[in-house]
């Protein structure tokens, strides 16, 4: 944050992205480079990293050290979990979910990816498309990240060859075709030397696209949220119960998708009761209209029995109200799935008991092959059937991230053990 031009609060948008790759791909170096060249590194951090680099006998500073975490990690030379990094430019504020690339990769990547607008998959130009490149892209698509950047790194080690870049792009494009990304961009870079990361550099003149940071600053993310189907899970009922506001009943919540106007008809699910929007409020303001992902208070014309876990909808494609559905599940816990244990499902603002009734198959994330299994262990991705105690109001994850996702919690340990993405078969 070094330049005065970095202050433009009224125009800065928020972009969350995840960087996927292992230490060998230069992922930490890339993040360090983005932070360093966008002048987001502070003096005290820089001097600490310079000291450590010198201690390790390096001539230049090791950019990867900027993302080094806890003492425990430094001692063992590993990264434990998802770390979040922040930097900003005049155009955008960025949140990076930095996930480590070792054996717990699936779990960490799915966690970091769940809120991301964009994923960067790093490929070492010398090695080309590897199994892990496919794995990273598959996981990004599974979690529904709309935008993918394929950063072909270490271009300096292949003589900045356009030929090699083209070959890698062509090979990966075939694989990416079926994964459903809204946009895919290929960028040749050298994280170590800085080419095409923040500055263009002089070595990749044949590349006509934008440097990585320019691209991150300008990619359109407005349309990533479902703007058609209004979904409002009620979080908390606001009842002041004061003398002057005796009858006030406001439904607080965050609009998961779509937009709403005063006067719009709404249906409360699962009850099916209907009413109209009377007011859209927040603190001292009242609005004519509101849109996802705003947090607001809604009041309605009629006195209906509405509580946390109910969902307000209006028009558009209706969600399903069901006690049974299929999902892609990522098992997150070290404790394997156990059909004898009781699990709780948290979906929007509703918490109910749930059962896994079937495991259709597990996905081998290296080959994308489906294989039959009876058990789920940490990092497994599987297609399953779920049954829940009370009906849920659901959408397919592919259509609506906010109303298509859920977590499973172990009822005894209270740990979050799995994350699910709802699949609805086209009927």
């Amino acid at each position: 944050m070094a330049a005065v031009e970095n202050i433009e609060p009224d125009h800065a948008e928020l972009l969350r992205f995840i960087s996927a790759g292992s230490v060998d791909d230069g992922k930490s170096t890339l993040i360090g480079r983005l932070l360093h060249d966008s002048k987001s590194i502070f003096e005290d951090q820089l001097s600490a990293v310079t000291r450590t680099s010198n201690k390790r006998g390096m001539e230049k500073i090791d950019l990867s050290l900027f993302t080094d975490g806890l003492q425990a990690e430094r001692e063992q030379g590993i990264t434990i979990d998802v770390a979040y990094r922040y930097f900003n430019t005049p155009k955008r504020k960025f949140i990076i979910a930095d996930t480590p690339g070792h054996e717990q990769y699936t779990r960490n990547m799915v966690t970091g990816a769940s809120t991301a607008n964009l994923a960067i998959v790093l490929i070492d130009a010398r090695k080309g498309v590897l199994t892990q490149s496919r794995r990273h892209a598959y996981l990004a698509s599974l979690v529904g990240i709309p935008h993918l950047v394929v950063a072909i790194n270490k271009m300096d080690l292949v003589g900045y060859s356009q030929e090699i870049f083209k070959q890698i792009c062509a090979e990966f494009a075939v694989f990416l075709q079926g994964l459903g990304f809204r946009s895919i961009e290929y960028i040749p870079i050298s994280a170590l030397l800085g080419d095409m990361v923040v500055e263009r550099g002089d070595n990749l003149d044949w590349y006509s696209g934008k440097p990585l940071l320019d691209y991150l600053e300008s990619i359109n993310i407005e349309h990533d949220i479902n703007v058609l189907d209004f979904r409002f899970p009620v979080q908390w009922v606001c009842r002041p119960q004061t003398e002057e506001m005796h009858d006030f009943r406001g439904y607080t919540g965050r609009i998961e998708s779509g937009t709403i106007r005063v006067g719009d008809a709404v249906t409360v699910l699962p009850s099916g009761l209907t009413s109209r929007i009377k007011e859209i409020l927040l603190y001292n303001d009242s609005f004519e209209t509101a849109f996802a992902p705003q947090s607001v208070i809604l009041t309605i014309e009629d006195h209906l029995d509405i509580s946390r876990g109910d969902m307000l909808i209006n028009g558009g494609e209706p969600p399903q109200i069901t006690r049974e559905f299929d999902a892609m599940l990522c098992w997150l816990s070290e404790q394997a799935f156990d059909p004898n244990r009781k699990y709780i499902i948290k979906h929007t603002t509703r918490i109910v008991k749930g059962l896994i009734t079937r495991i259709d198959y597990r996905v081998d994330i290296n080959t994308m092959h489906q294989e039959p299994v009876n058990i789920l262990t940490m990092n497994d991705i599987a297609r399953i059937g779920m049954k829940v105690q009370q009906p849920l109001v659901i959408d397919a994850y592919a259509k609506n991230r906010g109303t298509g996702c859920f977590i499973l919690i172990d009822e005894v340990s209270n740990n979050t053990v799995a994350a699910g993405m709802i699949c609805i078969r086209e009927s």
Partner: protein
């Protein structure tokens, strides 16, 4: 929302501050709905001032569904304590104060010297207060950009019955589906402004025109220069042999324990000037102002494991 109607109708006008604000409001309401007995930690510092505005946005026209609590080290700046009481009264919300002085009297905290920093011992008083009131969730104003141990912390951060944070054993946190479940004796620390940076905080204070304690703005003060930091002269900090007292314009970036919170030289008398200085500054907030975080590279990590915020 500080957006006017025109902006609201224009979907593209959803800035990073709007995104952060809406996320924080959602988090606060999840705590209110899912926790039986939450509390919001309010110190009078700028981050907790922002928390209070977010709570107003989340819950008004109701009262907050939780009390406010301050763990008073006894080493706080008087201007901050005065502000704390003023703001709580202005909001009409209940404020609980538990003081470390009491923990010292009862022998729960044993200090080596009377004037040493009390930050490391805040955890004792906090944990005692949590068990006294049976709080199952504490909402706090910590941010991930403050320190590398915080960068790895969840928004809903689980603490065991000893109040300890185990970085290797955190609950996975996906989407905005937070897991607030606890067993008796355990609790959750909730950080609604996890994703905010120091600059975001100042921009929000400016946008919402929030009042903050006067010592955040540039003022004249007696300071001692020690280890390239400015130390505020008070009954706790006096010049040592060879040190001289200087009178200069300074402001505080954080307002913690008087014995270890250092001001920075500044002429910024208003929020706009602070925003410019913050955007230009080259030293992290904690690096510049907290002597206790500099004792070792992992000092925050260790303190958190012991139950510190």
């Amino acid at each position: 929302m500080f957006l006017n109607q025109n902006k609201m109708n224009q979907q593209s006008y959803f800035t990073h501050l709007d995104a952060l604000e809406n996320e924080a409001i959602h988090i606060m309401r999840e705590v209110a709905a899912e926790c039986a007995n939450p509390v919001l930690l309010f110190s009078g510092g700028k981050d907790s001032v922002v928390l209070l505005r977010l709570a107003e946005k989340a819950f008004r026209p109701s009262h907050f569904p939780f009390p406010l609590m301050h763990i008073d080290t006894g080493h706080n700046f008087p201007e901050v304590i005065e502000f704390r009481d003023y703001r709580a009264k202005q909001l009409g919300e209940r404020l609980i104060v538990r003081s470390m002085e009491d923990s010292i009297q009862r022998g729960r905290v044993i200090l080596r010297s009377k004037n040493q920093s009390r930050n490391p011992f805040q955890a004792v008083t906090l944990l005692d207060a949590i068990s006294e009131f049976g709080f199952d969730a504490c909402i706090g104003g910590a941010r991930r950009d403050e320190e590398k141990a915080r960068a790895k912390e969840r928004i809903f951060s689980f603490r065991d019955e000893f109040g300890q944070w185990d970085p290797k054993n955190q609950r996975p946190e996906l989407w905005s589906l937070y897991n607030a479940r606890t067993h008796p004796g355990e609790n959750i620390r909730v950080f609604p402004i996890s994703n905010w940076t120091e600059l975001d905080i100042w921009q929000y204070i400016g946008r919402e025109q929030l009042e903050i304690p006067s010592i955040y703005y540039a003022h004249e003060r007696d300071v001692i220069v020690r280890n390239s930091s400015l130390l505020p002269v008070s009954y706790l900090v006096q010049p040592e042999a060879g040190e001289s007292v200087q009178h200069m314009m300074v402001r505080f970036r954080t307002v913690g324990d008087m014995s270890c919170t250092c001001p920075v030289a500044s002429q910024a008398r208003g929020v706009e000037e602070i925003i410019v200085e913050t955007a230009l500054t080259r030293i992290t907030e904690r690096g510049a102002t907290r002597m206790d975080d500099r004792t070792s590279e992992a000092s925050m990590e260790l303190r958190k494991r012991e139950g510190y915020f």
